[in-house]
Symmetry: C2
Subunit: 321 residues, 2 copies
């Protein structure tokens, strides 16, 4: 659920005169992205997305995100393209926030992806990793292993409200991951948040990837673990092996995993589970009364973590060894 | 802030096959309307609004609303038009709720309407009243005088949390309005919620009126009082006489008020203030923890009520006697 910053009429008009988009015809706040305010913007030139970057996005990262979108498009990845002003700028200021206009992509996100869509996602993710290989900017993953202890500390005292004994169990997992986290796997640009919300389909064809505001430089196989967690579990949080198989098979057709990546997948999946369990837990425990933002239930990712703790090989996740 | 009902992919597709709109290309939840779930829908035929009617709208009222939109369009009022299915139906069922597709209107709502926009609104409201004159369906105003005591009872016990002594002051106002409410003024179809959110502008020209889900049969001058309250106060809740004058002057150019309507305006304005103060108060006191819907502050309409209590003639509101 997105937030919506109010934009004063005159300020919006002034902002748009910097662009070559003609007169504004419509502006509607849309429920897209959780970190920023997003609006559907119609001008005489067509439909666009106007994004106001809220405080959780570090404005120093915006050039990385916007350049990445342009780089990926030049490598035939269909993702939103920044619209530049007459002066050539991709980034401006609106309502006191950094703001950008990007192209509007057709397509619908799958509420509950089917096996074919998991396969299509696997292929799209591999193409994304291949397309990012020669991107020259880099950005540290702000939510990588090193960040998890401080997230844990934010949640520790009240974690028991969500489930008795949760703090101790998370502390144990943190220790385990700290000792066993891989550090020698192929790295590159990862999306880091390629959930079903962020993948647009027309039928079973991927028509676009969106919301690159967690993109960073990290292990490619970790990105795969994040998406596997988001796409291949049933609504009851049981693992759907057929979906996992479709995802990995399609991914490996374009970018085969090496032996180390395959061996590391179970632990990467534990880390990917913990990362989302921790951020959701912190959000869940800190939701202000009357907030517009409805936090996601941390129990989903705690259940996925429990599953992955029992996994002993990548084969159980659907990877052909 | 709108609510968003999740729509299963297959169900949405099945719903759309009933229409002659081609394949679906995009669907985005939008922040429009407070009672229903609204989505921007793109199909091969263009852009539309898909509305799922949530529980606060009585489904028996939907034929009234949808017929009204068609009637008004036939009288040159620019408002959303129901798209009928191949079988000629304006209303269907989606995600267990009544659902309709209406046309997408260009235009932007004014965040803080200026004097010229208040004038344009006055003219649009008068045209709306004239266009509704030969509409044959009727619908009782579910939030009229008769409904206020039960709203008051829902808020009475906890009204003091909002302002000490509020319950007694509201009870007194209810009594006064019950004794003095006019019952002989011209009636017709009123919008009953024509706030700035619901009026689209292109520049200073009204390009469309939207969100007719409070429309009903009631006193035309009461509709004017509702809009005056919503359009002609400054952000500090002081009355802006220039805006009031512009509103009434433009309205009367198209539909002159009779002497009784003018004399009744101050009391209609008190009633219009109380009606929104009460519904906002009830919502404010009953917001569930973690709710997606952010209730509007009841203090705004309590301040407007205080202002109108001191008004002794319509001239003070900007009506030429």
């Amino acid at each position: 659920m997105a937030v919506y910053t109010e934009i004063a009429d005159a300020e919006l008009e002034a902002f748009l005169t910097r662009y070559d988009l003609g007169a504004i015809l419509a502006l509607k706040g849309i429920a897209e992205g959780v970190e920023n305010s997003n609006y559907l913007l119609q001008t005489q030139a067509g439909f666009f997305i106007l994004t106001l970057y809220e405080k959780r996005v570090d404005s120093r990262d915006l050039p990385f995100f916007l350049s990445l979108l342009e780089h990926l498009a030049s490598r035939d990845i269909n993702c939103p393209q920044p619209v530049r002003t007459k002066a050539g700028e991709a980034l401006g200021t609106l309502a006191g926030r950094p703001a950008a206009i990007v192209t509007f992509l057709e397509g619908l996100s799958a509420k509950l992806p089917n096996v074919a869509q998991c396969g299509a996602l696997g292929a799209a993710l591999a193409k994304l990793h291949a397309a990012g290989a020669d991107f020259t900017l880099s950005r540290q993953n702000a939510l990588a292993l090193q960040a998890w202890p401080s997230l844990y500390q934010l949640a520790e005292a009240r974690a028991g409200e969500v489930r008795p004994g949760l703090a101790a169990s998370l502390a144990e997992e943190l220790q385990f991951l700290g000792r066993n986290w891989p550090d020698h796997l192929p790295k590159g640009v990862i999306h880091a948040d390629l959930f079903p919300d962020n993948v647009l389909f027309l039928g079973e064809r991927v028509s676009g990837l969106i919301d690159f505001y967690f993109a960073c430089t990290d292990m490619l196989a970790y990105d795969l673990a994040i998406s596997m967690n988001a796409w291949c579990f049933a609504p009851d949080f049981s693992y759907d092996l057929a979906k996992g198989q479709a995802l990995f098979k399609a991914y490996e057709k374009i970018r085969p995993l090496n032996r180390d990546e395959i061996a590391a997948l179970p632990i990467l999946a534990r880390g990917a589970s913990l990362r989302f369990a921790l951020t959701r837990l912190v959000d869940w425990l800190n939701v202000p009364k009357g907030a517009l933002v409805h936090p996601k239930d941390p129990l989903e990712y705690l259940a996925k973590l429990e599953f992955h703790r029992k996994v002993t090989s990548a084969e159980e996740l659907g990877v052909k060894g």
